[in-house]
Amino acid sequence: MAREVLILGSDAAGLRAALDLADAGLQVHLVEPSPFLGGNRKTSYQPGLRLEAVKHPRITVWTNTTLTRLAGEGADLRAEVRSWPRFVDAQRCTACGDCEEVCPVVVPGQGHTAIHKLPGVSVPNIYVIDRQGRAPCTDACPGGIHVQGYVALIAAGRYREALDLIYEAVPFPGILGRVCHHPCETNCRRAEVDQALSIRNLKRFVADCTLPPFHPSNPPPFRPSTGKHVAIVGSGPSGLTVAYELVRRGHAVTVFEALPVVGGMMAVGIPAYRLPREVIRREVARLQEMGVEIRCNTRIGPDGDLSVDDLLDKYDAVFLGVGAHRPRNLVIPGEELPGVVQGIELLRTINLAQQLPDSEWPERLRQLLPPHVRRAAVIGGGNTAIDVARCLLRQGVRDVRVLYRRSRDEMPAIPDEVEDAEREGIPIEFLTQPIRVIGESEQVVGLECVRMELGEPDESGRRRPVPIAGSEFIVEVDLVVPAIGQQPDLDFLGEALGECGVTRQGNLLVDPVTYMTGKPGVFAAGDAIGQPWSVIDAIGKGKRAARAMDAFLRGLRLPDELAVEAPPMPVARRELLPEEKGPKPRQPMPTISPAERTGGYAEVELGFDEATALAEASRCLSCGPCAECLACEKVCQPRAIDHAMREETATLDVGAVVLVGEGQVTGGDDRVYHVAADDVVGASAVAARVMADLGVALEVLPTPSATRRLPLAIRHPPFAIRIGVFVCKCGSEIADVVDVSTVVAQATHWPGVVYAAPLDFACQAEGAETIAAAVRVHGLDGVVLAACSCCTLDQVCYGCTSQRVRCRTHLGVLADGGQQIPARIELVNIREQCAWVHADDAARATAKARRLIAAAVARLREPDARRRVVEPVTGPVLVWGRGQAAETCAGLLARQGVAVIREASQPVEARGSLGDYTVTLGYNDASRTVSAAVIVLAPASATDFAPWERVFDLGGLAGRRPGLFVCSPEQETEKSGAAVAAQVMALLGRSRRGADGNVAQVEAVRCRACGTCESLCEFGAIAVRQTAAGGWHAVVNAAACTGCGTCAAHCPSGAIVAGYSTDAQIEAMLKAVLSAD
């Protein structure tokens, strides 16, 4: 039988039940669907209690978690829970809020940033990212660009960061900002409202941005050099991406390019009016600045300068990014005529002739495109067809038309480009297929075509065009330009081709994970390994290949040792809010006029100005809602943010399930309890039933530390204690205000201090480890930690936080847990008391920090009187009353093996406190005296309760006298009886964990037995007693003592030490505060 309990829901009732059960000794899983305890309802329920749950050693808190399944029966239940990640490490976050400041996303309908805490007190005090999945745009990008991220940064006017974010993923923001076929826009959810965001143009905007205070982006950080050298064949997008990725990973790279220009298809396929050469030059130059060596006019191959095997000899690995430059033939009669010119060849010649006017290329263009050509037909529906058609227009061919065998919907070309072509006067004839080139005397004069209709879908999913019989017709043309596809030209591989391997389609064959060809050390990607063909796809494949090559170069075994990437996030599909559905039309891209266009190769699109870009970026719906801009990750000094966290499931063996509020689950039967969210009494009642079901074992924990002897009547001189001072910088949260290094330097001069050092984050495990190591190495007896924790008590108060609890847990100063550092530890809260309250005055903050730390050092130099006391409450429970409440309470306690005394007679006298109550009941001859550790009163009415008020002199303090419980007569009797039973069990359990170290201690020889303490203690925790020797002095009931110190403050002879400090410690601290300068 599992003695663990799952509580679903952390409202007031959930917290109550969890604490009662855990105190009584059961293990509790507190499951909360929202990221914070108490839910997101901003409950006013005491934050202290929520933190108490976080701190409790027997409570495991599961935030962002749902109960998905419950199986098993009886007390053997298996609960399956699913936790959505916070994306913030609860062990590292310091809640400094730097992340929130840089987060560009405001969550629609919530008003807070994507990374956030609750307003007011959050428990746990750990940030959470509202990240429901990956934005559709980001998910669609083959290049892995955080699309929503840079859009959000642009909307926030943070252009430089936006560009940096793009550069982190790809080396070509300017190129992609012009020519990308933008799958992001295709997936954009804004289209559900009006039109997709103009994302590509936003990318172009930041890539071109020169607005102040915009500065060109610096290269991202490099890894140290590995000494490896890689040869890359081809300077297209895949080759240059591999170069970019490998250079950043510390490898040397040389790129070999056969052509005289760099950029592959980007430079010789895409026309200049779409992609000005200056943009390519700029982005390639950036690569070269990063150390990429590019050698043009260097052909690899048997007939070239070097063979692939030569490269393998000289380099540690080879990457083949040779693209697909060999055109497909039409395979129709007349194709061999000189007036038939492949589109890809024509484009290359036009582009090279433009870029190299003094070379042989202008002459070669004249041969391909003689001056007499007036009419041209371009065959195909891809970007090459549209590009070559528009180039022909610009080369002076008046009549250019595009023939495509399918319809507009099937066209692979970018629709905007098709529209631009039509606007420039290029007709596109759909459902038209050429069947014969008509030539006269070695001259093309016409092209015979046939009309098509669409039939069943083919393997590409598009409907197959079928010729319509008898629809043949002839188009009169001087030039036929086929542009129906390309494939790689792999002749350069020569004999190595066989080793590498080729697919049936004629592409290079590579491993789908490692991108390695059949020839070890030779990798390939880009168009050379097949479709899809686009710049961004080539980049995406290049990135994956580079990752594998890096692993290969580091000597890892492929594919086994290739680092596992985080599994993909599901795509976020949140419901759009009504207010998000208001139309905001897409910003049009300004262009030059059609007349200006055909006159030359000037760039057609002019780019967004800032106002347009801001307006466009603000259309983003924040689908994530987190944009994955990673701005938070960059500023997070504790390195707490991790976007790679993924959903996790766990199976818990539990004996009972408590559903708080509306929670529902199937299964579990009679072991599933329900309680209303705010019914704390009901929660305790449920806890009592669960305890009865599972059985509670009250175990006494071993005393954590030996009792320290009190200083006897004299004050010791400062003894030779070796003290270490540690000052937490809290990243920069403290260090930005308090001059930590100066404080540390000064601390080393104080008496007793033998070691002082700064810490980055005291509340992380590393902080405690650093301190523990210093204690070992320097033989420290005492440690002063100046961070954000205030005290070493095993309690939380209104000012406490998750970080403070975490810090104390790591240091081992809490009741259970953490490493035990063998030194006395003093904590000083300089984050709040210095860095926050004097945030505007660094000098004052530093001076105050120095004084507070000096005071803690002085405190350590005085003997400490605190000791942990474990005084288990044993003995019977007196249950007084006749009604159902008494019956239920007594029954439930008895089932736990607790001795119960039942009484219902009138009380005459009552004395004592928790653990040793003495009550006289009944009248005259019938009176008797009962001793009990705990008293439960279950009066039937207020009148019934009155005599108890009198004998205990309660004065409204009934709830404050430890070990005295009252079942309120106003409550449902059975419920209140059960609730009190749970509270009694919780109290008995707590007394076995040990009280805090500040319980009062009496030095008998100094006690005058004047009874002042006894008359003042609200908790009945101190009383003057006669000793065995006959003397009288005050005796403390440690189980009942709260350590408030009232007795110590009033004791005339100073016989009592209570609370956190001895008088000597307070005096020493005051002296230090007043003299430290």
Binding site: L712, A713, I714, R715, H716, P717, P718, E1003, A1004, V1005, R1006, C1007, R1008, A1009, C1010, G1011, E1014, S1015, V1024, G1031, W1032, H1033, A1049, P1052, S1053, G1054, A1055, D1063, E1067
Partner: protein, 391 residues
């Protein structure tokens, strides 16, 4: 450099100790706390084990009541010997356990600040007459301060001061009362804080000398002894006569004047009238230190009060149980309870003392939830009784 321990031993005749143990036998502390023995402490120090004493709480347990010196056949000055041991113990960082959260010692140390400005005359009111040019200074001591702490026990210190001035006025003495009087330093000196004592003494001497008076009268036995004996020994002579007010009033001419005044009051003591009874607590400083035993008794008799002596009275009188606001505790309480039982056993109606501290300590001891009824009795101040009778 001479060994300070040896000097102490020599100065206070510890070498002459015969180890007879009479001191311990008569010591009120040893009677309650078997761990404390003056004989053994002398023995330890003489045997060269002074450090064991200096580092032990035993150094602070002595009440300095002089019961032991009174009986010592070798005239060992045990109280002064203890005082010097405490001075040495303080030098190595030890200190007695101060009562009342160190409040009173803090006041004393604050008064050692030369820049301190006080106004200690607010309690003077109504028909009380003082004169800055008087040849008699009435030295108030710490009476007004104690009121703040011990009001709950029913102690009213300023009433003692007012009574003193009223009695002086009735005898045609218009005293000077000093606004800038400071603590005489008695408690600090006896707790070993000789440095602060010196500061206080120097400031007080300067103040007293500036008055031009020739006589100091005080209602505090400790102030009287300190100004008279310890100031000349440690700092300097006041050059003035120092008297406890009981000494002054018992001078034959003044005593006659008092009798005369009393006969003129509405309720003259007479044989037919019920004559109240009292028992008298000899304050250590007034009795064994200054040998003033008869004067207070004469005054009481002059008031028509019948004196019933306790089992221990005069030279064998028992101390009130605490000295110098230090080391109060179970032992002190036991001494006080025993003394109060002794007082109750006399059947007297009241316990009279000439020292405010004796009064406070007895009042405090009676504040006991269990013993209260057994040990309760009215505690009266001598001068207040005189003043009331003269009304």
């Amino acid at each position: 450099m001479p060994d300070p321990i040896k000097q102490t031993i020599t100065r206070h005749r510890a070498y002459y100790c015969l180890e007879c143990g009479k001191c311990t036998a008569t010591c009120p502390v040893a009677r309650q706390d078997s761990g404390f023995s003056p004989r053994r402490i002398v023995e330890e120090v003489v045997a060269g084990r002074a450090h064991a004493v200096l580092e032990s709480p035993l150094a602070w347990a002595c009440l300095t009541c002089r019961r032991c010196s009174e009986i010592c056949p070798s005239d060992v000055h045990y109280s002064e010997f203890t005082r010097e041991l405490r001075i040495l113990a303080r030098e190595i960082g030890h200190q007695g356990a101060c009562t009342h959260g160190d409040t009173i010692h803090t006041w004393m140390r604050m008064m050692a600040d030369p820049a301190l400005k006080q106004n200690r005359l607010d309690w003077l009111m109504g028909d009380l007459q003082v004169s800055p040019t008087s040849d008699t200074v009435y030295w108030v001591g710490c009476l007004p301060y104690y009121d703040v702490l011990f009001r709950r026990q029913g102690f009213q210190g300023v009433d003692i001061a007012r009574a003193a001035v009223r009695v002086l006025n009735a005898l045609d003495i218009v005293p000077a009362v000093l606004a800038d009087e400071r603590c005489c330093g008695h408690d600090l000196l006896w707790q070993g804080d000789v440095n602060t004592f010196r500061h206080l003494a120097e400031l007080n001497l300067e103040l007293l000398r500036s008055t031009g008076a020739r006589r100091i009268v005080t209602s505090c036995p400790e102030c009287a002894y300190t100004l008279k004996v310890d100031y000349p020994a440690f700092v300097g002579n006041t050059g003035m006569e120092v008297l406890h007010i009981a000494e002054l009033l018992s001078a034959s001419d003044l005593l006659s004047a008092i009798r005369h005044l009393l006969s003129a009051t509405r309720h003259p003591p007479s044989a037919t009238h019920h004559s109240p009874s009292a028992t008298y607590q000899d304050p250590c400083r007034l009795g064994r230190y200054m040998h003033v035993y008869d004067a207070p008794r004469q005054l009481l008799r002059a008031l028509g009060i019948e004196i019933v002596e306790m089992a221990h009275a005069g030279k064998t009188s028992t101390c009130c149980g605490t000295s110098g606001w230090t080391n109060c505790g179970a032992t002190s309480k036991a001494i006080q309870v025993e003394r109060l039982r002794e007082a109750r056993a006399t059947g007297a109606e009241m316990l009279v003392t000439a020292c405010a501290k004796c009064q406070i300590h007895f009042l405090c001891a009676m504040d006991d939830p269990r013993l209260g009824a057994e040990i309760e009795m009215p505690v009266r101040d001598l001068i207040t009784l005189v003043a009331n009778a003269l009304e």
